[in-house]
Symmetry: C2
Subunit: 452 residues, 2 copies
Amino acid sequence: MVKIFIIGAGRSSTSLINYLLKTGKIKNWKVTVGDISIHLAEEKIQGFEKARAIFFDVDNLQQREDEIQNADVVISMLPASMHYKVALSCLKFNRHLLTASYVSNEMKGIEEEVKRKNLFFLMECGLDPGIDHMTAMQAIDKIKEQGGTLISFKSFTGGLIAPDSDNNPWNYKFTWNPRNVVLAGQGTAKYIRNGKYKYIPYHKLFSRVEHVTVDGLGDFEGYPNRDSLSYRDVYNIGNIPTILRGTLRRRGFCRAWDIFVQLGITDDSYKLEDSEFMTYREFVNTFLAFSPVKMVEDKLCDYLKLSKESEDFKKLEWLGIFSDKVVGIKNASPAQVLQKILEEKLNLDTSDKDMIVMQHQFEYQLNEKLMHLTSSLVSIGEDPVNTAMSKTVGLPLAIAAKLFIEGEIKQRGIVLPILKEIYEPVLAELEEYDIKCSEKVKELEPYAVDED
Amino acid sequence: MVKIFIIGAGRSSTSLINYLLKTGKIKNWKVTVGDISIHLAEEKIQGFEKARAIFFDVDNLQQREDEIQNADVVISMLPASMHYKVALSCLKFNRHLLTASYVSNEMKGIEEEVKRKNLFFLMECGLDPGIDHMTAMQAIDKIKEQGGTLISFKSFTGGLIAPDSDNNPWNYKFTWNPRNVVLAGQGTAKYIRNGKYKYIPYHKLFSRVEHVTVDGLGDFEGYPNRDSLSYRDVYNIGNIPTILRGTLRRRGFCRAWDIFVQLGITDDSYKLEDSEFMTYREFVNTFLAFSPVKMVEDKLCDYLKLSKESEDFKKLEWLGIFSDKVVGIKNASPAQVLQKILEEKLNLDTSDKDMIVMQHQFEYQLNEKLMHLTSSLVSIGEDPVNTAMSKTVGLPLAIAAKLFIEGEIKQRGIVLPILKEIYEPVLAELEEYDIKCSEKVKELEPYAVDED
């Protein structure tokens, strides 16, 4: 009897756990779900008498080693920083491990040993990273097999709000960790365009977006992610002249978000004096120069060359950032105050549905022709529990776990789902859950690739 | 016979060493000058047979302890980060120490022991910090003694080029460490204005300057330094509603410098790919979006809303940043490349003279009247060796050393030159070297201090 140990029973684990419980019932697997909240773990296994829910503290070495030793396959849905501890225990007791998180430098350090012990450590097998890898590699392999030469690869992913639930001027709600959204993009974005490296500092990021259209959904915009360059090695397309990865938002979002960046209120590197008793209005004023006569609204508009009639300004007003509400957080960073203000307006309502949008854009030379392939994936949540995020993060991992248990995956070591033996069956099965790419190919006019 | 050990014989030590050698000849002091370059040390003591020049490596523990034990007073002109080692040895052998650098957190950690051992560790006694402390405290003490109440204190200092040597469109040359100039201002500027805390992110710093006029020299502008707030405690003016410290540049400098900041080319936090073989023009292009038709110059102007006819653009062209010269530095950060480009044009010529400008601006209430005091100090270098920088950094420290040796300073512990017993005689003697403030007092119309 195969024993599976799932660590983490939070929101994004719902679909993963469901899939493995249902499949496990048929296949006669023994599934254990552990979480620091026993309540959450119990909730997730309801209706499956043979499954086991336990209180599990990853920092309790004894418990960690006992439970991991007692399993055949471990699936960690913990925050990325906690995987390494789990990985070390898996290594110690020769257990296989699957996660949806990026391969960290720590993990790279144990790569040789994982291989030597013939273990399967599948990582980056959720949505982003995960489905992005699989769908990109599928398209890249197909283009190469046709004899095509890749010229450009741009890829955008966004966790957004479903059209039916989209009822605010930002066309955005927090469907994912709000803190990560507030801090997103800090640092320098690095990509390559027509063979030239390009760098965008954070304070210019939200004004240098790409326009993206998705059939049936309309207009989006994508701002570049920090690191696009490393994907050349991952996808084995080292010489591609253009590669850019970005984050999708609804059109108009980035220009308004840029106001926060320009003011400096997404900064998390220092604490504000007297933040606790500051009003939202005073918070904004703190980033504007003194004036004995001008109102905060007017100072902001003059400073950032905004019109009070603009959509951008209306987005700010709608958030209530000019109100006299009190911040109420001691020693808060600007980013923490901004997050609080945003959460009051951008959190999901109980009836809201989320939406995942992903689009890959390829350009390639094929038989003297310049071709353009767009591959778009849209997934809409069913309800606040069975969200698109939970499905797209959890199902790839769950399906991969099943395939591995059934002996369908031969590769060992630290593995990404960029191998055909993984992405083909996983993507095929994801289609049953209506998670699939729709593709559009067209021929392009040749264009100049040189500059200046 | 009093023994003085001066560590560091670089450019900024010239005036200090000269003063102590001349004074020491009369007073019969034994002066030793140590430097990692024995050549520099020997050069500085020429003409003084009794002085001793030695090769000195601060990282050689044996030598450091020997030389410090062998001295009565140690003066360290080393880079700030090296003072702590010297301080520990001074503490071990009960020797007094004088420096021109800020009190670091490490130094604060030994404050109690310095006091307990009745040692004199004078710090921050150069120009900035140093003369700024002394002249500010003299003015503040005077205003308080008159019965005045301080309302506002702004203070600006700049290391600039003398008017006679000012022959480029930036009205600026490197009279100080170019790397520090390129990186200046990074982080968040914090100050207080009419009782409200204000924060300026780096990408807005150079567009939020204050206009400063100095009699006889004309127009300058000051951009806020990172930390203005801590000076409230240092100067014992905790409740002052407005305090701002800034760095002076000639008018127009900051707007042009802001172009570098907006592009992101003052960033020192990452390395550019292929920097070695990049031209200056390609370097600039790396921070601009791709265009198959537009020239780099046009892309830059469009991006930052500049006119090609503007003074700002002319400043860029004059630097040669659009040229096909090759960078030639491996794994360079953007800031390192920018520094190289700037050094080719902004380094001092052999005949150039530097200039120090400092201005304090006070507002205070006195007998129902609102008063404004401007205190300005200008010092121009004699030649490339006896620079204004060397005089204004070295002489305060040298004079303080003499006063201490002669028993004129009673205070012990880690001491700043904010005490009357130090600043009064030091400032009095600095006047003999033509380093003095000229003051201007006027009455102001009352103004609104409330906002929004």
